[in-house]
Symmetry: C2
Subunit: 244 residues, 2 copies
């Protein structure tokens, strides 16, 4: 029920070292800020040359899992909010970065034992303790997102102590969960009466709908659905062949 870390034993030394370190980070055993062993320590631990561990650590840094500093060593990075490109972003940070004022309200908060719908949405067993939240985000006073979220309390029990009346759950989770996998679905639909009321738009207006599920080491952490008025939010992504 804890962190499931079954990394395939690797064919090459490089992979073995890399997946062992990656495992420690993704599972949460090495939280953000944790000081990863120095290269010379890894050389001893794996009985290999420095080039090999250096390549592992350089690649992990390029992938954004660790940050390296001369003399100070390497530490586990905290997950970038701009996870690659299509992360459902930290709405709070996003709004404030663009210079607008950010507003947040908690509309609903309840601890429940998962029944069928929650269990399926979150991908957990029935009766798993779950925290259900609904909140609203504003930009310059105007509602621009309704967030419906389930948090798996079996994996993130600390969430129960948080009341989320001031801090958006995503902002809090980003600081708590060291690293995750995520899956997104994006669709469009017409606002029903409830959503229209909450967003201050006409019923039937087009809304952009984002669903994200998040795992840590194979275990479901949270499932969230965010509904934006279609005309006031644009997802954005950019590609280039290399990240150099």
């Amino acid at each position: 029920m804890m962190s499931g870390s079954r990394t395939a034993q690797a064919s090459t030394l490089y992979r073995r070292i890399r997946s062992e370190i990656e495992d420690n980070i993704i599972s949460g055993r090495w939280p953000p800020g944790y000081r990863v062993p120095f290269e010379h320590e890894l050389v001893q631990q794996f009985s290999c040359s420095r080039m090999t561990v250096n390549r592992v650590m350089s690649d992990l840094a390029a992938a954004g899992l660790v940050e390296r500093k001369r003399k100070a060593g390497s530490v586990v990075a905290r997950p970038r909010v701009q996870q690659a490109l299509l992360d459902v972003p930290d709405l709070k940070a996003e709004v404030e970065n663009s210079g607008d004022s950010y507003g947040y309200e908690l509309l609903f908060r309840q601890r429940v034992a998962a029944r069928r719908p929650e269990a399926e949405r979150l991908g957990v067993a029935i009766k798993t303790p779950v925290l259900a939240l609904r909140c609203r985000h504003r930009r310059d006073g105007r509602p621009f997102a309704v967030e419906d979220r389930l948090i798996n309390l079996a994996e993130v029990p600390e969430a129960e102590q948080q009341d989320f009346s001031l801090l958006p759950p995503n902002t809090w989770l980003v600081g708590q969960i060291p690293w995750t996998e995520a899956e997104h679905r994006i669709s469009a639909n017409n606002a029903d009466r409830e959503i229209a009321l909450l967003l201050g738009i006409d019923a039937g207006s087009a809304c952009l709908n984002l669903s994200r599920r998040t795992w840590r080491g194979g275990n479901s952490i949270t499932a969230v659905t965010i509904t934006h008025p279609g005309d006031c939010y644009q997802l954005f992504a950019r590609f280039a062949p290399s990240k150099l």
Copy 2:
């Protein structure tokens, strides 16, 4: 007016070699299938050790720019349709991969000199020759996407010879343009009468709207807007920390 390839001279040998090779690929000078020099040739060319060019080529392979085979050498890869994760995919390939039948119609095709709206959408100078297209995609006979596309004929003059009556422009372009950068915007809006008619849905229904602009070496290639019925198409993306 041709391929603008101004790569900054690099601080390290690795970067210098990598950006020189990357340049050749992205600019199109080395098209898909082109045989990249062998490692020992690059060693001579750059007067360095094999480890250094090997790291460059390995990383380019990991990034998907080249494919490597022992004995045969390395060749420039053809752009993967599943560009990273949120590419507007090749709709034809996507539909057929899911086992459905695919249908395509060209609704409109005209060569024009870019005026204000086209120039802005495509990011080119006014009067640039442009090919404007509108087409419709069907899944199992049912319309599921309307595509509005501009192609910069100054960069892709071959497009003028293509009539696109049978082959979707994206499918053709993927085979023509060796490598690109792209930028996406995703939004939702209510179908106007024209779109509703083309998609066979009610006016006012929510639609998912994807806009993509594509460059090659800094030059605009194509701009496309794809409109899907909101309920029949879902973008999908999945993340994991490493691609090993």
